[in-house]
């Protein structure tokens, strides 16, 4: 029996993502959590690549793993977490929280189970409509959409980033 390489890669990246996520929320030390989160984010990046989103694969690695996680590690070093690591890690309402999340999980599983057929139909229809391979590469298509149709949201996002930069400096500085 021939094993499809896509299937193997999907399950490998999915296992990486989920195990990394579980270790992120269960480790006592914040540094261990951050490293598990990096593993999880790399798994998600691999899944982007499997979905032919090459640009987002690069963005995920450069921005998330290279940017946000370094920011997290810097803050972990700036803030003294030794005291917090010795204390209780989960709060008192953890049982209620877990029950609520399990209820949501049951709901989502039910909807996925019921809706799987519709998704297959939509997929088949759209595959028939777009049978031709795209003429442009992924990055080119993203750029065309981003700087054409989505130019205004793009500029608004840059203002959001400016506000975030100013806000975090104001927040973290001792005296303005």
């Amino acid at each position: 029996m021939l094993i499809d390489i896509d299937v193997v890669l999907f399950y490998a990246f999915a296992a990486m993502t989920l195990l990394g996520a579980i270790f992120t929320i269960t480790r006592r030390s914040a540094v261990h959590s951050a490293i598990s989160l990096i593993v999880s984010l790399l798994g998600v990046a691999g899944l982007y690549l499997l979905q032919q989103a090459e640009f987002l694969f690069a963005v995920q690695i450069v921005l998330y793993v290279g940017g946000i996680m370094v920011l997290f590690l810097f803050v972990i070093m700036l803030v003294n977490l030794d005291q917090a690591a010795k204390e209780r890690q989960f709060n008192r309402q953890w049982l209620i929280a877990l029950a609520a999340v399990l209820a949501v999980a049951a709901e989502l599983a039910y909807f996925l189970y019921k809706g799987a057929g519709e998704i297959h139909i939509a997929e088949a229809a759209s595959t028939a409509a777009a049978a031709l391979p795209p003429a442009l590469g992924n990055t080119e298509m993203v750029a065309d959409a981003l700087f054409g149709e989505y130019l205004l949201p793009f500029e608004v996002a840059s203002i959001l980033l400016l506000v975030a930069v100013v806000g975090s400096v104001v927040m973290a500085k001792k005296r303005i």
Partner: protein, 102 residues
């Protein structure tokens, strides 16, 4: 029929979302709560990309880029708040910050 369909990605994304929610709701350490929020945002991105791929539409990827921008802004401001909080209250545990609690 491709063996790995959109439903597989949706199930994975739902699982990632639920793990992130458990982290936000049960952990006491604010740094790990912020990391769990990153997990939730990644689950959203995975969902957007899966539907964009299934429907041969580039808009899903554009939205994922905007979600990543939001995640960066949220992490920067959240960690700034955390540093200000640690300077004033000497704690990073979320349930010890109860000034507004009755």
């Amino acid at each position: 029929m491709h063996p790995i369909g959109t439903v597989h990605y949706l199930a994975l994304s739902a699982a990632l979302l639920l793990i992130g929610t458990v982290g936000v709701l049960t952990r006491r350490n604010i740094v790990i709560i912020l990391m769990s929020i990153e997990l939730i945002l990644n689950a959203v991105n995975l969902n957007l990309i899966a539907f964009g791929h299934a429907l041969h539409n580039i808009d899903g990827q554009i939205f994922a880029i905007f979600v990543i921008t939001d995640a960066v802004a949220e992490a920067a401001v959240g960690l700034g708040i955390l540093i200000a909080l640690f300077r004033n209250k000497e704690t990073v545990l979320a349930d010890e910050i109860d000034l507004l609690k009755w």
